[in-house]
């Protein structure tokens, strides 16, 4: 491994913060390895995103606006990434740890004969090995795992783990040749739901609700205004998702999403292990619960014992007033 190549996931040129985090981290690791930092941008909208990426300290931006990337599932992306890896030479591949990122990473590992470390939150170059720091067992342990010296390595990177720092010199774009392959799995329809809402995994503040809210209405009436006031997103415990109060894509925990916001506010959530493993790495944890002996007391920085239905609207008002005065 000498160079570093990141994969820029996007929809029609619209991307998330993780792409810029990967671009910055690619530069840092490439410098430590003495190689080049590149990024791969594919499919409709790629050129537009590539322009944006010129503000980041990369050496090369590989672009192909091939429409097949949005027509066939997964394989065109893997082909292009393999092509970029073969063009630039032995490299560490940085893939976002997202739903499709994980699929890409698994296939790419086999293509490149590479080792893989998943859900990485820190990277270090030690001699000719790259050491990856990654939480396992739902955050119960933090592992240090080395990619043994090899031509290629793959890591999936957890969102919010690295800083996104722009700064030149801006890279040139380079075309990637279209792979000569036929694909079997076609995307017939691609439907966006809840567009425009902040992605839970990337939100700096998460306001989550649980069984204590008693139904779906308080998620809209109580939690959304508080999340909006703090510039955050709404999440939920498994109990709330299982009860059908919110869609499953808002579920945080063992069988849901893992979030690491700087501020986590848990409303009416008891804090069972199922939930705890999805949010315990948050910066600051505040809980509102009727029961002062709930398990969440053990890992909250502040637990307010009281009636969430009375506390949350007051709190939202106070924050809105305070923010109004500042701006």
């Amino acid at each position: 491994m000498k160079h570093v190549i990141a994969y820029a996931e996007h929809r029609q040129g619209q991307t998330r913060k993780i792409t810029f985090e990967l671009a910055s981290e690619a530069r840092r690791i490439a410098d430590a390895l003495g190689g080049k930092a590149g990024i791969v941008v594919l499919g409709p909208g790629a050129a537009q995103l590539a322009e944006q990426l010129k503000a980041y300290p990369l050496d090369v931006i590989y672009v192909n606006e091939d429409g097949e990337v949005d027509e066939f599932l997964l394989d065109p992306v893997v082909d292009y990434l393999e092509a970029a890896a073969k063009t630039l030479g032995p490299a560490l591949m940085l893939i976002p740890n997202t739903l499709s990122g994980r699929d890409v990473a698994g296939k790419l590992m086999v293509r490149l004969g590479a080792g893989i470390v998943a859900d990485v939150v820190d990277l270090k170059v030690e001699g000719d090995a790259v050491v990856c720091v990654s939480p396992k067992l739902g955050g119960a342990i933090v592992t240090h795992c080395a990619l043994r010296p090899n031509d290629y390595g793959v890591v999936t990177v957890r969102p919010n783990a690295f800083a996104a720092a722009s700064g030149g010199p801006g890279a040139q774009t380079a075309p990637l040749e279209k792979p000569k392959r036929a694909y079997a799995a076609t995307i017939e329809r691609d439907v966006e739901e809840g567009a425009g809402e902040l992605a839970l995994e990337e939100a700096p503040v998460v306001v989550a609700g649980g069984r204590g809210l008693g139904g779906p209405e308080p998620f809209d009436a109580l939690l959304k205004p508080l999340a909006r006031a703090l510039g955050g997103a709404v999440g939920a415990s498994r109990a709330a998702a299982d009860a059908g109060w919110v869609p499953y894509n808002l579920q945080i925990g063992q069988t849901g999403k893992t979030v690491t916001p700087s501020l986590y506010i848990a409303v009416g959530i008891s804090g069972a292990i199922q939930h705890k493993v999805g949010m315990r790495s948050s910066g600051t944890i505040v809980a509102i619960n009727k029961d002062g002996a709930a398990p969440i007391a053990e890992f909250s920085d502040l637990l307010v014992v009281g009636d969430a239905f009375r506390i949350v609207p007051e709190l939202t008002k106070m924050i809105e007033t305070a923010k109004g005065q500042v701006s």
Partner: protein, 265 residues
Amino acid sequence: MDHVKIVVTVKLVPDPNAEKKIDPQTKRLVRGGVETVLNPYDEYALEAGLQLKERGGGEARVTVFSMGPETLKETLRRALAMGADDALVLSDSALEGSDVWATAYAMAQALRKLEFDLLIVGGLTDDSSTGAVPGALAEHLGLPCITNARKIEISDGKLEVERETDAGYQIVRGPLPSLITTALTFGEPRYASLKGIMGAKKKTIATIGLADLSLEMPVGTSGSKTELEGFAPPPARGKGTIVEAADGPAGATAIFDFLRQKKFV
């Protein structure tokens, strides 16, 4: 879609509902008192397989495949009790220490021994959460990889899958055979019935070892491309402040002051 042959891969993991602790002396996971169970994501994969089997009628079959120590056979009975027809275990002491690369390669070589129309895999494993195994298996076996399915239809030898994405959902069409992983919205895994539990005792759990496979690359520790250098507990999080709020404004003020002190407001 009769005669459809389905293989579901399952893994055994430490009980996800148990709190895992690291022994500060040995730096190893404290195993005592923690039960081994089917990886929760794999139960959804099995549920998907069983639903397809039911729709397929009498000729459809579900085979469970797992890799691990021979002791896992007893836990696999649970999968058979839920309704799977038989099970195959790849077990070999030389597999110990395999990383994701070596694991996926060994699994793929064993799966080549089975004939199937559909390979269903759990989306993640609860203990390691790598999420790379489905893609790696698909690549080794030359199959399309359709992940996070919440609905699967088979007709005229073709597959239509509704899959959840980060942004919403997609309808994907693919051929048979394909590899599919299931979303948790697929449907709650069933409980084994008493009849199922009794019937499972008569079902076959076959075991194969590495000698039964045609391996071209090493597996186990020597075949791994990564090396665990060590692990540690996460930074400790102390118990914080508990405030009893007499009313709404008092509770709101307590939180507001705290957020202001932490510079969130």
